[in-house]
């Protein structure tokens, strides 16, 4: 089978009425917003910024980009875009594995769900692109691993991808996630809760590999080779079996952020885990519990790390993957240096369907509240792993205090009258880079359109020196322009949809060449950046309409007032106001609000 041109096959599914209709995307939308993230935001805007996230009026978009599922390296990504029940902003989350590729191979570019079903349903996509909504009452109440097995029993394992929500999504936990058969997640922003509110249990796709329809196959093959050579270059951390990301996975970061004082510990009261970081690092995992390096579609890097726990209470657990973010969120952030328990808790998140970053922040906030005597009985002690494991089940089930924490750390902290101990931006919890030790990352969190996020602007690549841009992590000057540049570039790659890690080896010019030869469009590196800027402004426009206006781009006061305690950043705070002034000047925004002339200049209005 040969794939159709991108944008022709978006399937709109109304779960209230059962209507299913395939409609092409308006051509100026794919021109302006490319696909995946950008296109999804445009559809979410169309639904209206005033909708309630967990109401039938919200739309839940699963979208490929023009390169998803093609032979392009690192193209095994697709996006889930919706209004977030966690933040109230637009949100997009991206998933690896094979599910997005299979949707493309079935001849479809996206699935957009609106309305809500009265009874549990799943969406089935067959080889030829036929879409049907089927009864899921016999798997409602199952967690994700069991749901995957349920559908494998029904349809066979071959060529099958299953995305599902677990009981966390069914219970509308505000940070519930969609997880696929490879334990890859649409992790952030609570997309799983939106699925639960629509009674949508799973998306099951059966499709075998298909070739891309390419505008200029000869030129495309050449630029694909150029991109692959860059990824394989031994100087890049993406180099298969040689680069740090490939050998150790994302958790190769643990020791360096610890060293520089950017590894939040005890709910970011401390900035380094000291000697204890080694026990939860990628190096330790590789030496002691690693058993496999699974990969995603068309990816030579294989950053996922499958582990097996060989002793202790979780002996026999085999899971993937001990990533840096959850290893931090459930590790130093909670004063926990037991990597086996971290693997167990990540596996719980994969099965129950929850974002481990949000979860770890909810637990660490609760631990600080306990420590300060602010809870009326109960609570959690720092590093009490057995209690953490139990709390995770309670959160997914919304039982006891779990019902409070299921609202996310920001709402939970407000509920106990201490909003100041929730480390969040716009309702979404902070990831694993302390803004006092990596100043640009802090600005990126504050100005992220989906709430605190490390992936909207991965300035750490510059601040840690892995891309050829000079950026002192402890100097705020110049970070405004730098964050904007990263945000715009990533907005484009998220819309293609290529893995974020491609940016360690590829640049705007290489993105432009791959897109141009595949799609038959004229596009330069400058156009790539311009398209990314347009997408970023579109998101900001949505958020402005949704009520996020002047003064919304903030960081928790802790990072502004409490100097770093340990590591290279000792004594530093985030100079957010200075960076914001630079950033808004670079963006042409007025205190976080996009002026109408900017929207017109970019062709959004």
């Amino acid at each position: 089978m040969e794939l159709k041109r991108f944008g022709d096959a978006i399937v709109h599914i109304n779960l209230s009425t059962g209507d299913i209709e395939t409609r092409p995307t308006p051509s100026d939308w794919t021109q302006k917003y490319i696909g995946a993230r950008g296109l999804g935001v445009r559809y979410v805007l169309e639904a209206g910024p005033e909708v309630e996230a967990l109401s039938p009026d919200n739309v839940l978009c699963f979208l490929n980009g023009p390169l998803s599922g093609s032979e392009t390296s690192m193209s095994g990504r697709w996006a889930c875009v919706t209004k977030s029940p966690l933040t109230g902003t637009v949100t997009d989350s991206h998933q690896g594995g094979w599910a997005g590729a299979r949707l493309r191979w079935a001849g479809l570019d996206g699935l957009i769900f609106e309305g809500a079903s009265d009874t549990p349903v799943y969406c089935f996509v067959d080889e030829n692109g036929d879409v049907s909504i089927r009864d899921a009452s016999d798997c409602w109440g199952l967690n994700i691993h069991a749901t995957v097995e349920h559908f494998r029993d029904k349809y066979g394992k071959k060529n099958l991808s299953v995305n599902a929500i677990g009981i966390a999504g069914e219970n509308e936990v505000r940070f519930a996630a969609w997880v696929n058969e490879d334990d890859r997640a649409f992790g952030r922003g609570g997309t799983g809760a939106v699925g639960g509110s629509k009674k949508l249990k799973a998306i099951v796709i059966r499709a075998s590999r298909a070739k891309s329809q390419i505008d200029d196959p000869v030129a495309w093959k050449t630029v694909r080779r150029e991109a692959l050579d860059a990824i394989r270059d031994e100087k890049n951390l993406t180099s298969p079996k040689k680069g740090g990301l490939s050998v150790y996975g994302t958790n190769v970061l643990m020791n360096i952020t610890n060293e520089i004082g950017a590894l939040g510990t005890r709910n970011s009261q401390v900035t380094s885990f000291g000697e204890r970081a080694e026990a939860v690092s990628g190096e330790f995992v590789e030496q002691n519990i690693l058993v496999g390096d699974p990969t995603c579609h068309a990816c030579p890097v294989a950053c996922k790390k499958e582990v097996e726990i060989k002793e202790g209470p979780y002996k026999g657990l085999q899971m993937e993957s001990v990533e840096y973010e959850p290893a931090w969120a459930l590790g130093s952030n909670c004063d926990n240096d037991d990597v086996a328990s971290i693997a167990k808790m990540i596996d719980q998140c994969n099965d129950l369907g929850m974002d481990p970053i949000e979860l770890g922040n909810a637990l660490s906030m609760w631990m600080e509240a306990t420590d300060r005597g602010w809870l009326d009985g109960g609570g959690l002690a720092w590093g009490d792993t057995a209690a953490m494991v139990a709390a995770i089940e309670a959160i997914a089930s919304r039982e006891g205090d779990g019902a409070i924490l299921a609202e996310g750390p920001a709402r939970a902290a407000e509920k106990i009258g201490h909003g100041e101990i929730a480390m969040h931006v716009k309702g979404q919890a902070l990831p694993a880079y302390d803004p006092r030790g990596l100043k640009g990352m802090g600005l990126g969190y504050a100005t992220s359109n989906r709430g605190a996020c490390h992936l909207r602007a991965y300035v750490a690549a510059a601040e840690l020196g892995v891309v050829p841009i000079d950026a002192n992590p402890l100097d705020w000057k110049g970070k405004g322009e730098l964050v904007k540049a990263f945000q715009d570039l990533h907005a484009f790659s998220d819309s293609l949809d290529l893995c974020k890690f491609s940016a360690f080896a590829e640049d705007a010019e290489l993105y432009a060449k791959q897109y141009a030869t595949a799609m038959g469009v004229e596009i330069s590196a400058e156009d790539v950046v311009r398209a990314g800027e347009r997408i970023y402004n579109l998101e900001r426009y949505y958020n402005n309409l949704a009520g996020f206006r002047e003064g919304s781009d903030i960081l928790p006061q802790r990072y502004l007032d409490e100097p770093s305690t340990m590591g290279g950043s000792k004594g530093h705070v985030s100079e957010l106001d200075d960076m914001l002034a630079e950033y808004y000047a670079a963006r042409g925004w007025k205190d976080g609000v996009v002026p109408e002339d900017k929207l017109r200049e970019l062709g959004i209005l």
Binding site: K235, N236, L237, K242, G243, G244, L245, V247, Y248, G249, T250, N251, V252, L253, N255, I256, E259, I260, G261, E278, G282, E283, C303, E323, Y324, E325, H454, L455, Y458, A460, A461, L464, G465, V466, P468, D470, N472, P473, L474, D475, K500, F501, F504, G567, G568, S569, K570
Partner: protein, 94 residues
């Protein structure tokens, strides 16, 4: 002097930490001298530490008490006894 190595540098030096025959008080006590001592002991590290011009490579991050020498005085950064020295290859992720 004790030096910490990370990620893909560890297999080259055979462990997490190594004692390098160098004391800061000797030979001016510069990062440059420490690197010479390190490469002398582990010649395979040369390609990781130096670029084609003989300067410090962008492929290495040398931290002195958690500060990258790139943002201090580079190879001319003066070392003192009991400082923590850590050397990383390119590492990032997400």
């Amino acid at each position: 002097m004790q030096v910490n190595f990370y990620a893909t540098l560890r297999p080259i030096v055979g462990g997490k930490t190594a004692d390098v025959p160098f004391e800061p008080a000797e030979a001016g006590g510069l990062v440059r001298d420490l690197m010479i001592a390190i490469v002398s002991r582990w010649p395979d590290l040369r390609e990781h530490i130096y670029d084609e011009t003989g300067g410090l490579s962008r492929q290495v991050a040398i931290y002195v008490d958690g500060r990258n020498v790139r943002w201090l005085q580079g190879e001319d950064t003066v070392l003192k006894a009991h400082q923590k020295i850590s050397i990383f290859p390119p590492v990032a992720g997400g």
